[in-house]
Amino acid sequence: MLKRLFPHPYLSLTLVILWLLLVNDATLGTLILAGVLATLVPLLTQSWWPGRPRIRHPLGLLAYAAIVLWDVIIANFQVAWIILFMPAARIRSAWVVVPLDLTSPEAISLLAGTITMTPGTLTADFSSNGRVLLIHALHAPDPNAVRDAIKTRYEARLKRIME
């Protein structure tokens, strides 16, 4: 019964928080409206999202977000350095193919998003069976090192958290 009413509990929780942040005030009225939204939106959209993603370690997700945020800041400076000071002819761009150990679509989307947000790499496409990512690296003299870094730093953590 509860599962039918809230097919995606995490989505419902996110919607409540989102609505409270959006309205920027926590009175009873906004809380009730948030509750209505958190019930209706998952119910109306569940046919497009039939699976129920599991998050085994929600706290691990926070630690993961912190790591990614830190990497984003560092990478921003690296990319800025490349743009400003590296002669265009010396920038070695490369395609990197990353075979995945992850299987859940949610985890793969998270990884693909992480790769795009962290500097110097960008998810360009995925294989038609969804198990390999095609990544473009702005400056990668050693493409294999980029692949290994992605697999150990991000994918291994996501695997532990999500699967």
Partner: protein
């Protein structure tokens, strides 16, 4: 104390503006579309992030309370930036890149962009 905070806000705004400028400069300097895609996606994160922190700090110091909307702006930025980058990249792959220049998937199948239907 407020003077110090104002310097901090000013520094954040300058940092954000600088990164926005660098990202735009990257569009001019880098040579092919895939490389150019890197410049704006990166610069916006720190550029917009610094501007958001400056805005939030300013509101707190003006005594208007914490504006949680800035947290939302950052969250939506992180959600949407990778998606728009992915779609730009896929369009570029489909329209201009020679297939032989792309590495193989290693699965026997092709990259998703070149297949109309998903493979089972």
């Amino acid at each position: 104390m407020t003077a110090l905070a104002e310097y901090a806000i000013a520094a954040l705004l300058i940092l954000g503006g600088l990164f926005g400028l660098i990202g735009s400069f990257g569009l001019l300097k880098l040579r092919d579309p895939m490389q150019r895609l890197h410049a704006p996606t990166k610069a916006t994160t720190i550029g917009v992030g610094a501007a958001l922190i400056a805005a939030a700090l300013d509101m707190v110091l003006l005594g208007q309370g914490i504006t949680w909307q800035s947290v939302l702006v950052a969250a939506f930025l992180f959600l949407t930036a990778p998606l728009s980058a992915l779609f730009l990249a896929k369009t570029h792959l489909l329209r201009t890149i020679a297939r032989k220049d792309l590495p193989k998937t290693g699965t026997g199948g092709d990259w998703a962009t070149f297949r109309a239907k998903p493979q089972k």
